[in-house]
Symmetry: C2
Subunit: 425 residues, 2 copies
C-alpha cells in the first residue's frame, strides 16, 4: 500500500479564514489511483513548523504533497526552505522563465516591476524536477529523498501552488501521470449509496444485520450531511476478482435494504441525479424560490449541460414578486401568509406557466435567525412540487442555523422533485 | 501564548469525500479569544493513527480538539479509544441519558431499537467533563492530562461531534466559556482589508514599500480568491496600547494605498457590504441571472435580514425566459446572441421593471466546459448593472473551470454593482 501525507501551508488555514478544499481534491485524485492518504496536516507560514512536518511525515509516508506558500508575495517562505531541506540551491529555470514572461506579457499584459516580481517564480531548487503550471506562474516541484535505505523507493515530495485552479491543473497534467509511472498501485474500491429523507440512526437500524455480517475486508462508513446519509463500502482489492465480486454483491444487498431512500448508487449529488432523469425523459424544470433565495437554481445549474433541462427560476423574496411574476393571490398572502401550503402551491403553478416548464418546485419558509413567530418558528418551511396536472406540498421544520436551513430545504425540495418526476410520468 | 491543535477524524476526509469546514470554524473562534492554532490534522477512522496523533500533539500544544467519530453508528471508534488513552471507563451519564431520551421520544418521535442505539451515546468515560450538546445526542467531552509536570496547566483535550451544526453549538455554549475560565489569554489582533478587481501581484506591487517598512511584530498576508485579494495584518498585542496604536496606523496606511480596490476594512463578503449600503440608502435590488444561475441571488440572500433590500430575481437560463420575463428582444438574441452587451443591458432594464427594484444586475456568459465557440469562448461573460436612469455593461474573460467561472462572475458583478450604487445616488 502506497501511503501519502498532504501538508497544506498558510496561516489563513490556522485562523480559519480559508477553508481547505485543496486537500480533499488531492485526496480524491489519489484515491482513484489507489494511493491511501493517511494524514492531512495544515501548518502556518512558519519555517520550523513546515520543517518539522516534513521530517515527521517522511517517516511514515511514501509520498508527501505540500500545497501553498509559492505565490509571488513576500509572505511565502516555502521555496527557500525546500532548497535547504533537500540541499539544493535556487537557480533560474529557463522553461519556467519563458512561461512566466509569456503569461505576463501576452496574457496579463503587464510589464515593469510586476513582471520582475513574478520572474522570481522561475527560480527553482536545482535538485527538483519542475512540474509545469499552465494556469499560473508558480511551477510545481518534485523532489526525491532516500529516507530509509532499505526501502525500494526514495520518498517523493511534491510542492504545489495553493491556488486551487492552478493546483488542479498541475495534479492532472503532471503529477498523476508521473506517479503512475513511478509506483505500482493496488486498487481501492469504494462504492457509495446516497440516501435522503432519513437520519443516520434510522439508516443504521435498517442495515444493522447487513453491517454486522460484512466480511472483515469490507468497511462501511456513514457520511451524514444536510438531510442526506451516504453509505460507503471500501475494500482494498489488489485486483482480486473474488474481493471485487463480493464487494459488488454486498453493495447490491445494501442498495436493496435502503431502496426506499436511495437517491443514487454513485457518489453524486441529487441535482445531478435529477438532471439525468430529466435529460432522459426530455423534460424541463424551473424553480420558484422564496426562502432558498436561488440556492436550488444554483445547485441545478452547477451541473455542466444543465441548460438542456433547466429553463429558469423566479426568486420571489418579496410578496410583490410572488404576486406579479408567479400569480400568487394577494388574498392568500393576507389570509395564509407567505409561508403556507396555499402559497407554495400557487408558486408552483405560477412557475410552470411563467417559465413554461414541465416540472417546478417552490419553497417558502423562515430561515432565521430573525423572522420567526410562535406559530411560524424559524426553520418552518413549506415545499411544493408539481407538473401541469398535479401539485403536492409538504411542511418541514428544520430549526438549525440560517445556512443549514437553506441547505436542508434545498435537499428536501430536490428529493421531493425527484420522487415526483419518477412517480408522475 | 496558548497553542492548540485540531484533529479531525474520519476516512471521508482522507478520501476527499468531505471538505473539512469544522477546523476552520474552530480556528476562527479560537483566534477571536487569542488561542493560536499551530497545527490542524486529519486522520482516518484508525485506532493507531488517532492514538499517535494525540501522543504527538500533546507534546507541543496546550489544547487539543478532536472532532468526529462520536456518531451512533458502528464505524466510530473514538470513545473507547479516549477511555483507554486517559485511563477511564465508560459509564452512563444520567444527564446525557435524559437528554437523548428527550430528543428521541419528544423531538424525533422515535422509540424501540433506534432509541436503544442512541442511548449508548449517554455512555461517557468516567474521567471526563461532559459538554452538553443541545442540538444532538452525542455530547462533547473534556479531559485533562498532565503531560509535562513542570507546566502550569495540564493539557486539555476536548472531543466534539463531527456534525457541524452540533459542534458549533457546543463550541459556543460550552467550550469557549470554559476555556475563558481555564486560561488567561493574550490578544491576537487581525485586521483585514478586502480588495477586488486586481490580482495578487498587482496589489503586492502597490504596497511594496509599505510591506518592507512594517515593524517586525506586524505580519502581512495575501489571501487571493475568485477575483478578490484579502490583505491581513496580524500582531500579538498582549493588550499593549503601543502595539495596538501602531497596528491601527499601519492599517490606515494600507487602506489608503489600496483605496481604489477596497471593498471592506472588515473580513466580510461583498454581499454583506452591498447589503449594508442598500439598507442605509433604503434602496432595493434584484438580479437577472443567466450564466450564474441564481448563485448571486443565493449570495445576497445568505445574509441574514436580506429581505430588507433584496426583492427577487429572474434566473433566465433559456432565451424564452429572457424574452418572456425580462423583455429581451428576440431580434437582439438572434443578431447579438444571448452572451452580448445588448442582451445584458435589456436584462437589467427588464429586471428593474419586473421586480420593481431600484438597482439590478445581469449576467450572461459561457461557463463551460461545453458551449464555447471561436468568437465566444468558455469564460466569456457580459455583466451589466444599472438603475432606472442608467445601465453600464462590461465584458470579462475568465477561462477557468465551470465552478470558478461562476464564482468569478458573481464577484465581478457584485463589485460592479457596489461601485455603481456608490457612484449613482
Amino acid at each position: 500500500m502506497i501511503n501519502a501525507s498532504i501538508i497544506t501551508i498558510g496561516d489563513e488555514l490556522l485562523i480559519g479564514q480559508t477553508i481547505d478544499t485543496n486537500s480533499a481534491y488531492i485526496a480524491q485524485k489519489f484515491n482513484e489511483i489507489g494511493i491511501w492518504v493517511r494524514r492531512r496536516l495544515a501548518v502556518g507560514d512558519n519555517r520550523e513548523e513546515i520543517w518539522n512536518a516534513l521530517a515527521e511525515e517522511e517517516k511514515h509516508s511514501d509520498i508527501i504533497i505540500l500545497t501553498g506558500g509559492l505565490g509571488p508575495t513576500a509572505d511565502d517562505i516555502t521555496k527557500p526552505l525546500l532548497c535547504e531541506y533537500f540541499g539544493g540551491k535556487l537557480v533560474v529555470n529557463e522553461e519556467v522563465l519563458a512561461h512566466v514572461r509569456y503569461l505576463f506579457e501576452k496574457i496579463y499584459r503587464r510589464t515593469g516591476s510586476i513582471l520582475e516580481r513574478n520572474l522570481k517564480q522561475a527560480e527553482v531548487p536545482d535538485n527538483c524536477t519542475v512540474l509545469r503550471n499552465d494556469r499560473g506562474s508558480a511551477p510545481g516541484m518534485w523532489f526525491e529523498k532516500v529516507v530509509n535505505p532499505k526501502a525500494i523507493n526514495p520518498v517523493t515530495f511534491v510542492s504545489l501552488p495553493g491556488v486551487p485552479h492552478e493546483m488542479k491543473g498541475i495534479v492532472n497534467a503532471e503529477l498523476i501521470p508521473r506517479l503512475l509511472k513511478r509506483f505500482s498501485f493496488p486498487t481501492i474500491i469504494h462504492k457509495t449509496a446516497v440516501t435522503m429523507g432519513q437520519g443516520e440512526s434510522f439508516i443504521a437500524e435498517l442495515i444493522e444485520n447487513f453491517e454486522s455480517s460484512l466480511p472483515p475486508y469490507i468497511r462501511l462508513a456513514y457520511l451524514p450531511s444536510y438531510g442526506m446519509v451516504k453509505l460507503r463500502l471500501t475494500a482494498f482489492s489488489d485486483n482480486d476478482p473474488v474481493i471485487e465480486k463480493e464487494m459488488n454483491a454486498q453493495f447490491e444487498t445494501l442498495k436493496s435494504l435502503v431502496k426506499e431512500y436511495l437517491v443514487s448508487d454513485e457518489d453524486e449529488p441529487i441535482e445531478k441525479v435529477i438532471g439525468e432523469i430529466l435529460r432522459q425523459k426530455k423534460k424541463t424544470v424551473g424553480t420558484a424560490e422564496s426562502c432558498t433565495g436561488g440556492y436550488i437554481a444554483h445547485l441545478l445549474t452547477s451541473i455542466a449541460g444543465s441548460s438542456d433541462y433547466f429553463k429558469g427560476s423566479v426568486i420571489s423574496y418579496a410578496n410583490e414578486v410572488k404576486m406579479n411574476l408567479l400569480g400568487v393571490k394577494e388574498q392568500t398572502l393576507i389570509t395564509d401568509g407567505a409561508v403556507s401550503e396555499h402559497t407554495v402551491r400557487q408558486m408552483v403553478k405560477g412557475a410552470i406557466d411563467a417559465l413554461n416548464v414541465d416540472y417546478a418546485l417552490a419553497t417558502s419558509g423562515i430561515m432565521g435567525p430573525g423572522g420567526g413567530t410562535d406559530t411560524k418558528p424559524v426553520g418552518m418551511v413549506w415545499i411544493a412540487v408539481g407538473n401541469r396536472q398535479q401539485v403536492i406540498a409538504k411542511e418541514f421544520n428544520f430549526r438549525f442555523d440560517r445556512e443549514r436551513n437553506i441547505r436542508q430545504t434545498a435537499n428536501a425540495a430536490l428529493d421531493m422533485l425527484r420522487k415526483f418526476i419518477l412517480a408522475n410520468d
